[in-house]
């Protein structure tokens, strides 16, 4: 397995064990079934509790039955899951970084007690509702709103492109609180079986097919006022969750690219044309050399990001750079791997084209590539291009 400059040799024993367990699980339980799920446009939902049993949801958090692993161990987990499929990593990212994290960081004790243990085991599934039909890259312009009525909040609005909303038990919905001064963005825990909640599925995606995506419709949905996340107000709420998830994506992209590389390397050494393996041609070797180099430099960025996160020195801009670079790298390299597989490369029997199509989503969600460019531009010049 590609680890060209031996970064994994410096992992501690716990981190290596996490990597090995995740790798073995993906190899044996997930890879054999992902092709069919991809074609059918389904997620293997029977794995959801299994992933929980293994502790794959928010393992970097502590307490509430969660293991509290290092950030590197968490990153390695995301890397191995995304080597399986971006849809598998998305499942873990949404549950862990986008739903459990805000409850953990901003929830009341009651909310934590109620939700974290059963979300950790996968008994309860969560989703994260930020994007709206008219507001994607600029979520602060959101229209979804809450109004206070006695001991309740009443929610109205609609969210779209929400991973797992059709199968979720609870949604973290970000909405403007119209009853408060300056209508700040607040987080609300909305059980999906409440009156007025609808979660239509989005079909016919051509990317991230092995992942369930839907909308959240909110029509006069009454929730107890205790369902608001008390600890955060403003865009910092959703953005800080996204920082957590993007950290995992920076690692995950390395996994997807590595899986493409390994598939291409194996194929090139096996496939014979003109009387020998195609890997003996300089053109093919150049592709492998470039792929390995790109993956390795992205891997270095991911490791450094973990160190900064562990020390509490990681900034959202660091994460923007890593998400931007690593996902672009994986998107470009998956295409090269696909091309090395010739006609076989366009089938679901091999992973590169599936990864390639998935990475179009990964390039777009959690802040598009362009938006991360603007974040970096602002950080480097002091001038925001998006305001």
């Amino acid at each position: 397995m590609l680890d060209y400059v031996g970064l994994e040799a410096d992992l501690d024993s716990e981190e290596r064990m996490v990597r090995d367990t995740a790798r073995e699980f993906v190899e044996k339980e997930f890879k054999p079934i992902v092709g069919e799920h991809y074609i059918d446009g389904t997620f293997p939902t029977e794995l959801i509790p299994k992933l929980g049993e293994l502790g794959f949801y928010a393992p970097n958090l502590d307490g509430y039955g969660l293991p509290g692993l290092s950030e590197t161990a968490y990153g390695l987990l995301m890397q191995e899951l995304e080597a399986g499929d971006s849809g598998l990593r998305s499942m873990a990212s949404v549950q862990g970084a986008l739903v459990m994290y805000p409850i953990y960081a901003y929830g009341s004790d009651e909310q934590k007690e109620q939700w974290l243990p059963e979300m950790g085991t996968g008994e309860t599934i969560g989703c994260f509702g930020l994007t709206e039909p008219e507001h994607g890259s600029n979520p602060s312009a959101m229209e979804t709103y809450a109004t206070k009525a006695g001991n309740e909040y009443v929610l109205n609005g609609s969210k779209t492109w929400i991973t797992n909303s059709p199968i979720a038990d609870v949604a973290v919905v970000w909405a403007r609180d119209r009853s408060a001064e300056n209508t700040p963005v607040r987080g609300f825990l909305v059980e999906t079986d409440r009156d007025g909640v609808s979660t239509n599925k989005i079909d016919e995606k051509l990317s991230l097919r092995a992942s369930i995506t839907g909308e959240i419709g909110l029509q006069n949905v009454h929730i107890p006022k205790e369902n608001m996340l008390p600890g955060v107000s403003g865009m910092k709420g959703p953005l800080s969750c996204l920082t957590q998830a993007r950290f995992g994506i920076a690692w995950g992209a390395v996994g997807a690219a590595r899986d493409c590389f390994e598939t291409a390397r194996e194929y090139a050494t096996d496939r014979e044309q003109f009387g020998g393996p195609i890997a003996r041609f300089q053109l093919q070797q150049e592709k492998l050399a470039e792929m390995a180099t790109q993956i390795t430099t992205a891997q270095l960025l991911a490791y450094r990001l973990s160190e900064l996160k562990e020390r509490g020195e990681m900034t959202p801009q660091h994460v923007s750079m890593a998400k931007r670079n690593n996902v672009r790298m994986a998107r470009d390299q998956s295409r090269i791997a696909r091309e090395m597989l010739g006609g076989n490369g366009i089938t679901a029997d091999y992973s590169p084209m599936r990864h390639m199509a998935n990475l179009e989503t990964v390039y777009t969600y959690e802040g598009t590539h362009d938006i991360h460019t603007l974040v970096l531009g602002q950080d480097l010049t002091g001038i925001a291009a998006f305001e």
Partner: protein, 265 residues
């Protein structure tokens, strides 16, 4: 209180392409992993611990420091603590034979006094396939080999086992404790270590012991077996693929079998 001892071994797996260096295979071509059979033995022990009120599971291995990760994986799956035997004498031994392993495990058994010992049927690398039964004999324990189903009645001190014999025959036997069972693959479905388990395993004890600690000396690991040669046997294989639908393929198969003399009067 019941104590279960599981013997585990880290085995070498040889890569597809390798080079022989005298009677050894160079380390470059080896990968180390938990012996497959032992994974089933660990699962059996952990299931007993989960089903009983007061069951301690201890794993024992003979091997260098490198093996700690393998043992830790067992701890992550629910084994309570580990024992690893190693020292310079063991490191200098070329071939650790069944007698040597028996002496070492016997010394551990004398100290731990387990009620039940689970071993794999065999080790994937040297495949002596004898350690479990040999240990039982030396320790004066009852035994059952190649166990593929276990129903333990701890109160009565009896293990009801099903054993896999040659030719698809199975045998049901009752074995009185204390006993050694050599565990066959397929007896259960070994679990993955959970990340919570991996975390907890970092805090579990792996006690390192030397031959001296166990009251043994060099004599215990001297072997009457020497490895004289290692080579790759020449292999020849002919493959004939039958094409067409089931009828056509069956007809071709029948004529090949007839040619080979199968079913001739």
């Amino acid at each position: 209180m019941m104590k279960v001892l599981v013997t585990v071994k880290e085995v070498a797996e040889v890569e597809e392409d390798f080079v022989l260096d005298g009677t050894r295979i160079d380390d470059r071509f080896l990968e180390y992993d938990l012996n497959e059979w032992d994974d089933y033995a660990i699962e059996t022990a952990v299931q007993l611990a989960e089903a009983g009120d007061d069951v301690e599971v201890v794993s024992a291995t003979i091997g260098p420091e490198r093996c700690e990760e393998t043992i830790r994986m067992a701890l992550a799956k629910g084994v309570d603590r580990g024992i690893r035997v190693w020292d310079d004498t063991l490191a200098s031994v070329d071939l650790l034979d069944v007698n040597a392993k028996t002496e070492i495990f016997n010394a551990i058994i004398a100290e731990e006094e387990p009620d039940l010992i689970l071993t794999g049927v065999q080790a994937h690398d040297d495949s002596f396939g004898a350690t479990g039964v040999s240990v039982a004999d030396a320790a004066g324990y009852e035994w059952a080999a190649v166990v593929n189903a276990l129903d333990l009645d701890a109160d009565a001190g009896v293990a009801h086992v099903r054993r896999e014999l040659e030719g698809g025959v199975e045998e049901l036997t009752d074995v009185e404790l204390p006993a050694v069972l050599t565990i066959q693959t397929g007896i259960n479905e070994p679990r993955y270590a959970s990340l919570r388990g991996i975390r907890m395993a970092q805090r579990k004890e792996i006690a390192q012991q030397t031959l001296d600690d166990l009251g043994l000396d060099e004599g215990a690991v001297e072997s009457q077996i020497t490895l004289t040669d290692m080579y790759e046997p020449e292999s020849e294989s002919d493959v004939e693929l039958f094409e067409g639908d089931a009828d056509a393929a069956a007809a071709s198969l029948a004529s090949v079998l007839r040619e080979k003399g199968v079913g001739a009067q």
